[in-house]
Symmetry: D2
Subunit: 307 residues, 4 copies
Amino acid sequence: MTRLTEEAQGVYVIAVTPFNDDGALDMESVDRMVDFYLEAGATGLTALGMMGEAPKLTTAESLEVVQRILARLNGRIPLVVGVSAPGFAQMAELSKASMDAGAGGVMIAPPGNLKTDAQIVTYYTQAAEFIGGVPFVLQDFPLATGVHISVSAIARIVEDVPTCVCLKHEDWPGLEKISALRAEGTLARRISILCGNGGLFLPEEMDRGADGAMTGFCYPEMMRDVVRHSKAGDAARARDIFNAYLPLARYEQQPGLGLAVRKYVLAKRGVIGSAALRRPGAGLTKAAQAEVDTLLARQEERLKELN
Amino acid sequence: MTRLTEEAQGVYVIAVTPFNDDGALDMESVDRMVDFYLEAGATGLTALGMMGEAPKLTTAESLEVVQRILARLNGRIPLVVGVSAPGFAQMAELSKASMDAGAGGVMIAPPGNLKTDAQIVTYYTQAAEFIGGVPFVLQDFPLATGVHISVSAIARIVEDVPTCVCLKHEDWPGLEKISALRAEGTLARRISILCGNGGLFLPEEMDRGADGAMTGFCYPEMMRDVVRHSKAGDAARARDIFNAYLPLARYEQQPGLGLAVRKYVLAKRGVIGSAALRRPGAGLTKAAQAEVDTLLARQEERLKELN
Amino acid sequence: MTRLTEEAQGVYVIAVTPFNDDGALDMESVDRMVDFYLEAGATGLTALGMMGEAPKLTTAESLEVVQRILARLNGRIPLVVGVSAPGFAQMAELSKASMDAGAGGVMIAPPGNLKTDAQIVTYYTQAAEFIGGVPFVLQDFPLATGVHISVSAIARIVEDVPTCVCLKHEDWPGLEKISALRAEGTLARRISILCGNGGLFLPEEMDRGADGAMTGFCYPEMMRDVVRHSKAGDAARARDIFNAYLPLARYEQQPGLGLAVRKYVLAKRGVIGSAALRRPGAGLTKAAQAEVDTLLARQEERLKELN
Amino acid sequence: MTRLTEEAQGVYVIAVTPFNDDGALDMESVDRMVDFYLEAGATGLTALGMMGEAPKLTTAESLEVVQRILARLNGRIPLVVGVSAPGFAQMAELSKASMDAGAGGVMIAPPGNLKTDAQIVTYYTQAAEFIGGVPFVLQDFPLATGVHISVSAIARIVEDVPTCVCLKHEDWPGLEKISALRAEGTLARRISILCGNGGLFLPEEMDRGADGAMTGFCYPEMMRDVVRHSKAGDAARARDIFNAYLPLARYEQQPGLGLAVRKYVLAKRGVIGSAALRRPGAGLTKAAQAEVDTLLARQEERLKELN
């Protein structure tokens, strides 16, 4: 088992859930996908993210996917499992099963009915208690959850709840928030900050003090290189690489549509067997496929120019 | 098995989920609750409603509750099971298990990402296909789902999807919608309209053409009597009874808080063993309990005056 | 001039804006309406409320209405003017013009983009600075504004901004919030709490520590009597009167539709010349008018029974 | 006067509102800005856009700005004036004053309470009637307005309302919507489609059938060149230029923050005298300024490489 800690950094790729064209889980693609993410430089994986197709799985399927990923990872890097749920009973059940199977930690997004700082702090305090000593990622994604978590609420959670070890930062705009969190004295202890939003602000996020990315952009290589060069102090190189991928990253970041783009590219790259989304959910139109093809061709050229 | 049809009328009580003080399911209270609802005049029951505590149950627990209710009902009145889910796989799984166990139909609320009429019609068409020939209730509750379903969208669903047999009407304001749906020529066939919102507009809803109520107000007797007197043409009597219960119904209809009020009263009436809500979720403060007690006392007096 | 202070209590009626059938302002009805509100026991008036038709007025018309009301009031009770605006320039302009004309204070609702406690406190601090020493009402109405103001945010505003003299309490549910605000030590100084939501929770709000109502229910007499009997310690009498009006109050509280109900009743009572709403905005259907007529007839009977 | 028609194409720049550091309108910067936009290739201008600082202007200031822009434009290209308002009276007033002063048309965004297709069509039909024969732009911006306008609703408006001559397309994702609108038979007549979202999807939007951009990106040159090369059939050149500006365009598109970025760049380019935003509203932090400076430097280099 590889446990999630405050030291988490690099690229935690949010894994897609591969299906066959008929909507059945495609476990062979799960294996190939895990291999691909490892080769692409992932330092961790995240499964059952709330924005993907995890909510379309039955409970049994969810666990099946988690176990398959863990078997393939074989302890090389930690797996974080999304366990957000309307009730603590379900959350605790999935959390326990995942940790028993070897996961490194879990991720919890706030339910949409939380409004004030005090409610948010109480929620995370109770959730942490329910899942026991399991290290967790606090998911801060207002566009999707409708919940705005202030810097002071995060500070109180970090202070009160020792098992909160990582922030999945996905506020938008969110750069000032990273600076505020990294300012001397804001947090009682340093936790990991991994950024989402498809990597669309990764160079700036690294400059502001993030430790890496936790998102599912279909070229994890971009995130690996941006993080690496940023940490090595070569911001110019980090930006050149980022800029080469940006036209595609921008296209993938379209709400709702993004997952179909991601799967289309991963299928095209041979990572997963089919670009199919489970219903309700539809793939790309011919026009969109052609747009992605154009973006991929130009991206490849540009990357060559850079080498 | 008692199957849900377009003829559904009367009072379909939305059942609470009884827990012990420690948060465990309380199956003995389930039995007592079913008996109570039958005595109070329920013509149907609804379980696992999306606004209650169903989302706090694990999948196994959900089925356990459904089976217990069905066993106790023993075919006397139909049970509708809420099967709303982010994906059709889960929805179909719970729907099949419920129908296999003897449920009469299911209820489906739209996911929050549906925006246009066309999207809503497509969603219900696909959902109906996934759950097979199972009769279902279309849940129209914009305040909770964020989805606004127009009269023309309902008309198209009714026309295209023969298994849509009932509308749970919970738009607010929604009286004109009932009139529009009942107007000559709007719907290709007549379906049942059962109203929610805690019964807060039941007399007017009956006048506009509703067939009854589907909601969980802690005095189903009110809804039974309002429906009965309305149908018998004694609108004045219906209103007198309604007015007597209205101060409590209004108090119970507070968003979020309502369920705690409902369980407090049901526990006080001896229907369920404990007023406890599963966490996250809290019971009434002392001040709120006192307010409910005052309302109950005045309600009892007023009902006596009416007899 | 009658200035708004922390001592505000009783019934501040939110005035409607009377139009002729053709949509022109009806100034004679403004006069009659002011007289009516005074006779019905108003201890204050509020004009240009954000939920009414004030946003449909041009700037010139807004001031015209304010001036006409003030002329008719002639200093007998204070007038609060709603000055919520996207920018402080507009807010300050309308605030100054209103105060110059003799208003007693202004009311400010938060713009929908405020998310955290800190943002809300900053906003009110700046707004108060812009409008100078003008006493203002903090409008807390999450259902309409989308902004949730925590007890601690209110406490900080009360501490930091001496010109915040009153809270228009319109959270729903909101009873525990009043209790929390009135608890020993929560607020650095006592401010007035006047409640909205059409008076639908007035008896309980008074018990929790409110000072009265600030809302527009078409029978201000109800609010006057509930406040009076509550303060006199006769809670039972307060409730009897409240209960008699509740069926209508519930009907009037339908979102969007409520204003048409209110104007229909006020026109029927002879207070305003026409029930017309300025477009976009429509009056009641025949069916709805009949429903209101039925409610009014039963209400009158019930009030007689109580005397 | 230059009138807005269905033939609108190219780049309609959404003008910022220049203020001095003290928050006063800066009219000399208005003149300089108009000159700059003309030189940068604008084929039209749009003033008082709902997402900018127009809502912070008093009514008198709004007209002052419109008149100043029109005077400077002197009929060379059309000016569209944003007239969205809660009521038709205000809308008609501002629309008339603008057209009298020489504007070419107006722009109308839907109020947030519109939910169904039928409501949206009715609203635009009534609005068009109120503003008389003035040509208008239908603003479709769900992220900001909360209103989702379906293709069929647009088709009905285009059919029923002859003065609807242009769609400001700002749905996200929205590419399929353009394709649907441009498909044979969807619209009864061809209207102009100009795209927003900071130009972030402009190459794809042009390919799908858009006629240009209507947005405020601080380098209108990008939009001019992308539109020109797209129309000339040189999609590769259009993309190269687009890609060079994309890192900055992405940064400027951060919700809420974007306007501060835009003004910072325009001030740096000497177009406006101050980057100040009127309060409430704040400028960029030092860290953000440094980020923009870095983006600008890299952009300049990249553009040189392309020439």
